[in-house]
């Protein structure tokens, strides 16, 4: 009851007060930051961090941090994340001051190289210590970029997942489904950059625009905080009379959502609808109906907002957080990074246990907080064991017939839940 009376006033105050920082790390991160900076992100602070001076010089960010040490002799990290990490640990205090004063920090990086994969986990930790909500938007390299970069990217992703509140990940390889034979390399990178920018914009709108159906900052926090999960996101737009249906279909066919399978696997889904003044409730309802049908087991958080500039258009951003299959793995990676960090630089040794204690305290606090506790309780649903394994009979080994995320080889009566006794 208490929370209910508070809500009407709280968001209005916090909308203005919420400070957002967008930080680009590494060569890819800095150039992505530039594409974002061109667009309408009024009120956000842009920070570029890199070890490479020329890339920073070309950047349009307001704050530029050049991580430099004698060790590198003016060169970059040379594609070695260990070097990136070492230098970031050394300059930990600088990173922390850069993050100071923000409520939400969005880290943008291309994993696989030295700076992106090395610095961003450390930066995330620094940001976390200032008390901000940390979301990372990262790209994973193309398969053709080689095994080593893949491994470095995977390692970086694991570490990032263990420290950041949420990691939204765009494997470049998946964009192959969006491009055709004749797309140039330049265009391909523009597309991946555009997709990432789309995700950032989605979150941005969520946080800054007054909503018709508001997504509270608390909801976003509750969805991503300490989940340490990898999320898939997709953003689609449609216009015209059949736009709500078109949106649902585009979403289900979106390659970044694995043709709708990511939705089925997720356990928390955030949907943000954005339309012009002509956005009707029926449309919101239709889109939500389609999405919720896809993800029956997920907790769905939904918001709708109106932008007078979007005439006749409807845009939907979906962020689907997947189930974290190995709950214990983040803990081990934290220790792993800690020990590795300790081996690399002695300055970090003292602060690590303190950090762990802080985390623990935070968790305890959260458990005792009345509002949060209820929410956490409702999410702890007893899951169903997949005991009723449905055999596909004669189609077991043939290519499945998938239509809008549904496997049509499974008997219709079974999928529709018709009971035969």
């Amino acid at each position: 009851m208490k929370t209910k009376t508070e809500t009407p006033t709280a968001p209005l105050e916090t909308i203005q007060a919420r400070a957002i920082k967008i930080i680009g790390v590494g060569g890819a991160g800095v150039s992505l930051l530039d594409t974002l900076n061109r667009e309408d992100f009024a009120g956000a602070d842009f920070v570029a961090i890199n070890t490479d001076a020329p890339s920073l010089a070309a950047s349009s960010a307001t704050v530029k941090i050049h991580l430099e040490t004698k060790l590198l002799r003016g060169l970059g990290t040379g594609g070695d994340p260990e070097r990136g990490r070492a230098i970031a640990e050394e300059q930990f205090a600088t990173l922390k001051t850069a993050c100071d004063g923000a409520d939400v920090i969005l880290i943008i990086a291309g994993l696989g190289g030295g700076a992106g994969s090395g610095i961003s986990p450390v930066l995330a930790r620094a940001a976390k210590e200032t008390g901000a909500l940390v979301l990372a938007f990262v790209t994973l390299p193309f398969s053709c970029e080689g095994n080593r970069r893949q491994q470095q990217a995977q390692q970086g992703l694991e570490q990032l997942k263990s420290v950041a509140d949420g990691v939204i990940c765009l494997p470049n390889q998946k964009t192959f489904k969006l491009i055709d034979e004749n797309t140039s390399v330049l265009d391909t990178f523009r597309i991946t950059g555009g997709l990432l920018a789309e995700g950032v914009r989605g979150i941005w709108r969520l946080l800054t625009r007054p909503g018709l159906i508001q997504i509270h900052f608390d909801d976003l926090c509750a969805l991503v905080r300490d989940r340490h999960s990898e999320s898939a996101f997709a953003s689609v737009e449609a216009s015209g009379a059949g736009r709500s249906r078109e949106i649902a279909e585009k979403l289900l066919a979106h390659p970044l959502l694995d043709e709708g399978r990511a939705l089925a696997e997720s356990d928390a889904v955030l949907v943000s609808l954005m339309g012009g003044k002509d956005l009707t409730m029926a449309e919101v309802n239709r889109v939500m109906e389609q999405i919720s049908r896809q993800c029956e087991h997920a907790q769905i958080i939904m918001g709708a907002a109106v932008d007078a500039g979007m005439k006749n258009k409807l845009s939907v951003t979906v962020i689907a957080a997947r189930r974290n299959h190995s709950a214990e793995s983040p803990a081990t990676t934290v220790e792993e990074t800690a020990s590795r960090g300790a081996a690399r630089s002695s300055t970090r040794c003292g602060s690590q246990p303190q950090n762990a204690a802080l985390d623990q305290r935070e968790q305890l606090l959260k458990q005792h907080a009345p509002g949060r506790g209820r929410k956490a309780g409702s999410r702890m649903r007893q899951e169903q064991l997949p005991l009723a394994i449905i055999s596909k009979g004669r189609f077991d080994k043939s290519e499945p017939t998938i239509h809008k995320g549904e496997d049509l080889d499974i008997p219709t009566y079974y999928r529709r839940g018709v009971v035969l006794n």
Partner: protein
């Protein structure tokens, strides 16, 4: 002795049966069916070959049977293809008319068709059909022959059906392995529509749904041209599989139950009725509720129609289909299927009749034979075009256009 050139053979390698139809073309181009051969298919799933050795055996049996019935040797066939990988879409080609007097020439027409065919396909796909719909001159729609007209900008709409090259080649290679020539590959749905629809129905707008064993192919005509095609990897096999699963009986038994008691709508009189299935000695094995059996069949067939209805709605074609829908393929035999389909598709639905063919009429007017007959018909249309020769120059020209129309 027969002249080989007027013998046309359609061969369909279906999921449940292989069917060969031998047609003889008379002087004025009409097709007369003189032989049919069929064999239950093995080694085919969802319209595609999964065991070449088994499938080859079945094709050989069907071809031999057709040869015996027609009393002639089959040398070349028009081969039907299907499968969930086939896709159809409409494409528009544009060509500016550059000649000084702005008169559209034959070359312009060929250029615009070439442009319409230059499509971005995935590298592993090939075009099965590119069918011309209408020309547009300076934005004016509905022109069938623009040669001699004046205009600055010539456009053409084409309907293109394409599929995965390797998967298409599988059946072609199999047929070639039997020392048979493949004249052309034809999308099964297109073949069925040729056999079923009269030109009046094509003009009014019609939908042909061929529900076979492993796939459901559908084709939409309006204004006399193909507007839309689709292939779903769903069919009678799925119905049997659902029955086997739901009634907990083996597949062979499910197949038999489907044929004997299946119905597209649940029969009110059958509610509460049960069936006892017996083993080969006549001893009772199991009791089955007939209502459940029919419910399972009904749900699956309804779903197939729903998917098609959704697709048509998305393509915005529902209001153009004034002649209604025509069903063929093995599943069209399910009792009451037209009554099931009508509310879903929201148009009159009837079983298709192969009107446009003469020959062994009563024996052939079966929904299963429609595709193979349509394949022979496709062949006859192709050869008729080719043989309409008057002068050498025109002969060459028509060869080129028929080549381009493919």
């Amino acid at each position: 002795m027969f002249d080989d050139s007027n013998i046309i053979v359609g061969l369909e390698i279906g999921t449940s049966k292989v069917c060969a139809v031998v047609g003889e073309q008379n002087a004025d181009g009409a097709l007369n069916i003189v032989g049919v051969g069929q064999s239950p298919a093995r080694g085919v799933r969802k319209g595609e070959i999964v065991d070449a050795a088994l499938a080859e055996e079945c094709v050989r049996n069907a071809v031999v049977e057709a040869e015996q019935m027609a009393d002639m040797e089959i040398r070349s066939v028009y081969l039907g293809v299907t499968g969930g990988h086939l896709r159809g879409f409409n494409n528009r080609g544009v060509h500016p008319v550059v000649s000084a007097d702005r008169e559209i020439s034959d070359d312009d027409v060929q250029d615009v068709i070439k442009n319409a065919k230059a499509i971005n396909l995935p590298a592993e796909n090939t075009v099965v059909h590119a069918v011309r719909q209408h020309f547009l001159v300076d934005g004016h729609d509905g022109i069938t022959n623009p040669v001699g007209m004046l205009g600055a900008r010539l456009e053409v709409d084409m309907h293109v059906v394409h599929g995965n090259t390797n998967r298409l080649q599988n059946s072609v290679r199999l047929v070639k392995g039997l020392q048979l020539e493949v004249e052309e590959i034809v999308f099964n749905g297109l073949a069925s529509s040729l056999a079923l629809l009269t030109s009046e129905q094509k003009e009014l707008g019609a939908l042909v749904i061929d529900i076979g064993g492993g796939t459901t192919d559908y084709v939409v005509y309006s204004d006399g041209v193909i507007r839309h095609t689709g292939a779903l990897a769903l069919g009678g096999d799925h119905v049997s599989n659902d029955l086997g699963h739901g009634l907990k009986v083996p597949l062979s038994r499910a197949e038999k139950l489907k044929l004997e008691h299946g119905s597209a709508l649940v029969d009110e009189a059958m509610k509460g009725r049960t069936l006892t299935i017996t083993n080969e000695l006549g001893l009772p094995l199991k009791t089955i509720n007939v209502e459940h059996l029919q419910r399972i069949v009904s749900l699956r067939l309804e779903e197939i129609f729903q998917i098609i209805a959704q697709d048509l709605e998305q393509a915005g074609l529902v209001d153009y289909l004034r002649a209604g829908a025509f069903l063929c393929g093995g599943c069209a035999r399910a009792p009451q299927i037209a009554r099931l389909a009508e509310p879903v598709l929201q148009m009159p639905v009837s079983l298709g009749k192969t009107n446009s063919i003469s020959g062994l009429k009563s024996a052939l007017d079966q929904p299963e034979f429609v595709t193979a007959i349509g394949l022979a018909k496709f062949g006859s249309l192709k050869t008729r075009k080719r043989e309409g020769k008057m002068s050498i120059a025109q002969g060459i020209k028509s060869t080129i256009t028929s080549f381009l129309r493919r």
